[in-house]
Symmetry: none
Subunit: 236 residues, 4 copies
DNA sequence: AATGAATGAGCCTTCATTCAT
DNA sequence: GATGAATGAAGGCTCATTCAT
C-alpha cells in the first residue's frame, strides 16, 4: 500500500528545512523533482511516464516509488513545490508612484511575460494551465497566493482609470477582460498558429506589441465605460 | 490497413439521412458515438480507452474497429458530429441586414453561449478545450471548421467598426481580444470561482451581462484604435 | 462445427463436373478460389487474411465460411485445384528426336521457366515452394504427378550423356545437381538480390543466360564423371 | 521508444563474457533466448507469439520487452547468437595452405553440414530457410553475415580453379551452382523423400557422398568453362 | 538508498468466425 | 446464397509498480 494515499516504504522526510531547496542539491530526490516538472508540463499527468522522468533525471525507475510512494505522490510534490517557488519568484510588483496608465501597461506586460516566457521555467506556467483545466485542491491556494494580489492590483488600477465610480462587478469584468486577452495568447496559441500565417506571427506577436495592444483596448474601454443599469437578461 | 487514415473494413454508410441523428437511433454505431463523446471529454483523447467507451455503450470492443477503423477514427467522427450539432444549436448570426454593432454583440453572444452552455452536452465544449491544450492530429481541422468561420466574421465586423483602415494584424489582435475575453469565462472559470464570491457570481456572470460588457469594451476599443507605426519592440 | 474437418453449413457440392472450371465461371465460389491463390502464395497460409482474399474477390467475408467451412478448407481446395491445373498445363515435354545435349538444355530451360516466370500463374510456383517447406499430404501427389515425369526424363537424358554406364544413384545425383542449380535462382532469389548489385542482376540473370550456364556445367560434369567406388564416409 | 531500433529500457549488458554462453546460464535473459529459437523456427517470425515463447521459457510476457525491446529485437538477438554458434560449430575452412580443389571440397562439405545437420539445433537451419522464403527486416544482415563470407571464399576458390580469367558474373554463376546443389538437399528434401526409395537414400545421401559428388561436378565445370561472349537472349 | 529485474494489468488492434436477416 | 454486423480471442506492446539484492 505504498501509494500516494499511504506512506512510502521508509517514509522519506520532507526536505524543505532551512534554505536547502531542490534547485541546489543533487541527490536522487531532488533530481527526480527537477526532472518531473517539465515532463508533467509537456505531457500532462497521465501522458507523462515514470520512465521518462527517471530517464531524464538519470535515476533508477524504482526511485520514484521509494521517494514519493507512486506517480501521483510525485505529482503532488511537484505541484506543491511549484506553488512555493512562484510565490517566492513573483512578488506583487511595486507600482505605487506610477500613472495608472503606466501601471496598467506594466501589469499587462507582467501577465503576458508570465504566460509567454519560454525560458527554463516555462513548464511552471504550462503546469498551472493544466491545473486550471483539471483543478486539484492545490489550485485554490495557487490562485489565492499568486493570482489574487495581481488581480487586486489590477482592480485598483482600473478604478483609477474609469471616469465615473463603478460597482465592483463592472470593475471585475474589466479586470477579467484584461486577463482574458493576455491569457488567450497562451491558451489559444495552437489556434493562432493555425489561423495566422507564420510570417505574420513572427512580426506582430511578440510580447511588446501584444501588451501595447491590450493596454490600448483597456484604456479605451475605461474611458468609455459607464455605470450600467441593473443587470437584465439580454437575448438569452 | 483499416486505420483512421484509410477506410474501415466494410465502410459503413453514413447514416445522416434526413434529420434522424445518432441521438435517436440505437444501433451499435450510434451507441458508440453517444458513449464516446463524454468519455473523450472526461479523460482526454489518450486517457480515454476504447474499452471504457464500449463498455459504456454496451457493445463489443471490436466494434470500434469495425465501424470507425480505430480509436482515432472514432474520435474524428465524434468531433465531426460535434461540429454539425453545434452549428445547428449555435448558428453563426446572420449579419446581412444588421448594424455592425449588433453583429458584434451577436457574435460575442454566440461565442459565450458556445463556451458556457452547461446542458446535457457540456462535454462538447470540454472536448474542444482539451484539443486546445493537448492537440491531437485532428486539431488543425477543428480550428478550420470551428474557429475560422467565426473568426473571419469577427474580422469583417471589426473592420466595419474601426474609424480608419487598419492593417490585418491590428484587426486580428482586436478579434483575439474579443475571443480572449469570452474564452476566459470558461478557461478561467475555476479561478473566478475562487476570486469572486458565489453571491456576486450568480448575479453578474450570466451570458447576457457578460456579452454586454465585452461588446462595450470592444466597441470602445474600435472607436479609439488608430493605425500603429511600424512594429517595434516596446520595453521587452 | 462448420470447420474444415466437418462439413459446411449447407454442404456446397463440388463443382468440377464437366469442363466447367473456376477459371471461367464467375460465381462467388470461383471468385474466392481465384483470389485466394495469389494471396496465399504472397503471404503464406497464416499471413494471408480471409478479409484480404474476400476483398480481392469482391465478395463478402462470410462467404468463405459458407463455401469452404473455414480458412483451412479454402486453402486445401486451392492446393487441390492447383495440382489439377498444373497437371493439365505442363505435360511431359516431347524431346524424342533431339540430341541429348539439346534435350538437357530444353529441360533446364523448362525448369527455370517454371521457377522464374512472373506471369499470371507465378503464384502457383510460389505456393508449391511454400508446400515444399511445410509439406501437406497433398505434396506427395504433386511430386508424383508433376515432378516425377520431368525427373525421369532428366535421368534418361543424363544417362545418354555420361561416357560410361553409371549406377542409378550417381545419375540421380546428377539430376539433383541440375534441378538444384535451377531451383536456387528462385529459392535463393532474395539472397542473390542482396549479394549481387542490381545492375549486374539485370544484365546476367535472365532465363537464357542461366540455362546456358547450367547446361554447360552439367555437360562438363557428365563428360568427366566416372563410376565411383563404393561409398565411404569422407571427413564426417 | 524502446523498440528494436532503439535501446531497451535499461539496456541489459551483453553477457558473452568468457565462454559462458546462454546455453548454460539460467536467468530470464538466457531462458528467453533458448526458448525463442525453436519457436521462431517452428512457426516463423510472424507465426511465433511472444506469449508462446515466454510460456515455454516460463517467464513473464513483459520480459521480452524489458530484455530485447520488442519481438523483433528478440529475433535479432536469436539470429545473432545463431551466427556466433554456427561460426563456432562449422568454421569456415582455413584455405591458406590447401590446393584449391581441397578448399572447394571443404567449402562444399561445410555448406552441406550446415544444411543437413539434424542435431539438437536443427531449428537453426530451419530458421535461416524461413528467412529466405519470408524475409524479415533482418534478412539483409543475415545474408551479409552468414552467406557473404562463404560466398566470397567460394568465388576466390573458383577463380583459382578456372583455366582462364572469367568475368565476375560467370564466377558468380559457378558459385551459385555450387550453393544451389548443396541447398537442394535441404530445400528439396521432401521431394527427394518421395522420388528416391528409403533404401537408396540411406546408402547414398549422407554428407560425405554428396559433397564428393558436388565437388566433382564443379571441378569438371571449372575445367571446361570458358569466357562467354557478351550476353544475349538464348531462346527466350 | 539505490538498483536491475521482473511482474501483471491494461491498451489498441487484428482476425477468423458466427449471427441474423 | 449472400450480406452487413457483431463477437471473443489473441497479439504485441506499454506502464506503474514491486521484488530481491
Amino acid at each position: 500500500m505504498a501509494n500516494s494515499l499511504g506512506k512510502t516504504a521508509n517514509p522519506p522526510r520532507m526536505r524543505d528545512f532551512g534554505n536547502s531547496t531542490h534547485e541546489e542539491s543533487n541527490d536522487t530526490h531532488s533530481r527526480i523533482l527537477r526532472a518531473a516538472g517539465p515532463v508533467f508540463a509537456a505531457r500532462g499527468y497521465s501522458g507523462a511516464t515514470v520512465r521518462e522522468i527517471c530517464s531524464s533525471a538519470e535515476v533508477n525507475v524504482a526511485s520514484v516509488g521509494y521517494h514519493f510512494g507512486d506517480k501521483l505522490g510525485l505529482y503532488r510534490q511537484v505541484i506543491h513545490d511549484l506553488r512555493v517557488a512562484r510565490a517566492k519568484r513573483f512578488p506583487a510588483p511595486n507600482t505605487d508612484r506610477q500613472q495608472p496608465e503606466e501601471t496598467l501597461h506594466a501589469l499587462v506586460h507582467t501577465l503576458l511575460s508570465r504566460m509567454l516566457t519560454v525560458e527554463e521555467s516555462a513548464w511552471e506556467t504550462e503546469l498551472l494551465m493544466r491545473e486550471m483545466q483539471n483543478p486539484t485542491p492545490i489550485f485554490e491556494s495557487i490562485v489565492e497566493d499568486f493570482f489574487r494580489p495581481l488581480f487586486d492590483q489590477l482592480l485598483e488600477t482600473l478604478r483609477l482609470l474609469v471616469k465615473e465610480e463603478l460597482p465592483d462587478h463592472q470593475l471585475q469584468h474589466l479586470a477579467f477582460s484584461t486577463v482574458g486577452q493576455c491569457l488567450y495568447y497562451r491558451v489559444g496559441a495552437e489556434a493562432i498558429r493555425v489561423l495566422i500565417p507564420e510570417s505574420e506571427r513572427q512580426l506582430h506577436y511578440e510580447i511588446g506589441s501584444l501588451s501595447q495592444h491590450i493596454t490600448t483596448v483597456m484604456l479605451a474601454a475605461c474611458k468609455n465605460v459607464s455605470r450600467l443599469p441593473a443587470p437584465r437578461e439580454n437575448r438569452d
